[in-house]
């Protein structure tokens, strides 16, 4: 364990300003999906994700692009009249839109004349159940206009719409709508803004930054600590932001992965199942240990980031996937979070 001041984190104001409704309906779990982990209700349980429909067909090459990159998360409301068969047309229209925006002076690259090439493709293997629509990937590449033939294309921005086990959103939505509630972005904000605007105008949808509460981050910490990883080289690191100080102060708490896993293994009763109580006990143990050494109550601070060998997540809705083995499970959880933010 260690404590050192860190850089202040910017906070995204995606916070929903609503009073929680205590009598919230719990969504029926077809596969015993987690409800409590969102801090919503009834002692929550999480069962390990059911086998994705095309686990065998999913080309790991096609989903490898998700790994080891930092993705900013958004929730997206259902897209109106979005058709999987028109992807080339959408690429053309988006390309024209970007060119028009550039003309207007909202140039994203100053100086050299650069062409932005737009590619929109579908990733059929990136989904949960058969009922999920296939994921859609939007990629922007820069191509030098001076030598168009053999020019190297440089990928500058990627955006991926996906839905992993999002039944309870799609079953409540009329037929003309496509539900792809989770949007992952990698690249400059300026492009995100343009692409987002185009989608909002074209499909009448709404994007919102997906924030992850400390409660959900602690679930992720427990879940990911319990995952079996081949070579555990990276520590389990938790970063806390200390409130009510005139200067920003972050506390970083790093735990040896084997110690963390050993602790979790003593707490978890049923393999493949996690309860809110178990997460609480796990976190309380970590907090007590820290308090014993540093006399600081981490439970009074805000958990802002969790990093493990499996993945890392920040409360502003920034995620990094490190293991392809757990990708589907992670996307399923993030889909849940996105749906929860939409509803």
């Amino acid at each position: 364990s260690g404590g050192r001041p860190g850089v202040p984190m910017e906070s995204a104001d995606g916070a929903a300003r609503t009073l929680p409704s205590v009598g919230r309906l719990s969504r029926g779990p077809p596969f015993g999906r987690a409800q409590g982990w969102l801090g919503l209700s009834h002692g929550g349980q999480l069962l390990s994700p059911p086998t994705p429909h095309s686990q065998e067909n999913a080309d790991p090459q096609r989903t490898a692009f998700l790994l080891r990159k930092q993705w900013t998360l958004y929730s997206v409301t259902p897209l109106y009249r979005f058709y999987n068969t028109h992807l080339r047309d959408y690429a053309r229209l988006l390309s024209a839109f970007i060119a028009a925006e550039k003309q207007k002076g909202l140039a994203v690259e100053v100086g050299v004349e650069l062409d932005i090439k737009v590619a929109v493709s579908s990733i059929p293997g990136l989904k949960g159940s058969d009922r999920d629509p296939a994921a859609i990937l939007v990629q922007l590449s820069l191509r030098s206009a001076s030598s168009p033939k053999n020019a190297e294309e440089k990928l500058v921005w990627s955006g991926c719409f996906c839905c992993v086990f999002g039944d309870h959103l799609s079953e409540n939505v009329p037929e003309d709508f496509t539900c792809l509630p989770l949007f992952l972005v990698n690249g400059p904000e300026s492009y995100t803004s343009i692409v987002g605007t185009w989608f909002q105008k074209t499909f009448d949808c709404c994007f919102r930054r997906l924030a992850i509460s400390p409660l959900n981050l602690s679930w992720m910490a427990a879940m990911w600590t319990g995952c079996k990883v081949d070579k555990t080289t990276s520590a389990v690191e938790l970063i806390f932001s200390v409130p009510c100080l005139p200067y920003p102060l972050d506390i970083s708490y790093a735990i040896h992965p084997e110690d963390a896993k050993a602790l979790w293994d003593t707490v978890q009763k049923t393999p493949g199942e996690i309860t809110q109580e178990e997460v609480d006990i796990f976190m309380d143990c970590l907090y007590s240990h820290f308090h014993r050494h540093f006399k600081i109550h981490l439970s009074a601070t805000k958990l802002v980031k969790v990093s493990t060998a499996v993945a890392s997540a920040h409360c502003d809705g920034i995620i990094k996937f490190l293991q392809s083995k757990y990708l589907t499970g992670l996307l399923m959880l993030l889909t849940e979070l996105a749906i929860s933010q939409i509803q």
Binding site: G14, A15, T18, P20, G39, A211, S213, S218, Q276
Partner: protein, 131 residues
């Protein structure tokens, strides 16, 4: 009287006026505040739980800063037979409204409202929350 935890220091017992209402404040952004309240509850005489205790949950405006599970708080209210109020201190309107509610409750608990006892009022609040 405002305090960060119970029990109150015994040296001042003889100077203290009668306590009519105890409001336990839980900050939804701080797990520590929940633990603190849970520990303090053990020091409260059982007679207070007949309508003279309530829980006030603050910070509910920002759902994404949530460090405490809502279910745990509601369960606390059930176990201790006391109402749970929600409030966002940062919003002046809600702050004022909550203060007025607490004041009203205090008047009842102090016996200033004829015909309404702390116990009957507490029961009324709990029943309406369940619906």
């Amino acid at each position: 009287h405002l305090t960060t935890s119970l029990p109150l220091p015994s040296e001042r017992d003889h100077l203290r006026p009668r306590i009519d209402l105890i409001v336990f404040m839980i900050d939804i952004k701080s797990k520590y505040s929940l633990k603190n309240v849970e520990a303090s509850l053990a020091h409260v005489d059982a007679s207070f739980f007949l309508g003279k205790v309530c829980f006030l949950v603050t910070g509910v405006g920002r759902v994404n800063y949530c460090s405490v599970e809502m279910n745990a708080i509601c369960k606390l209210g059930e176990v201790y037979c006391s109402p749970v109020l929600f409030c966002e201190l940062e919003l002046e309107g809600i702050r004022n409204a909550t203060a007025q509610r607490l004041l009203r409750m205090l008047q009842i608990c102090a016996g200033h409202i004829p015909g309404v006892s702390a116990l009957s009022f507490g029961t009324l609040m709990r029943n309406s929350a369940d619906e």
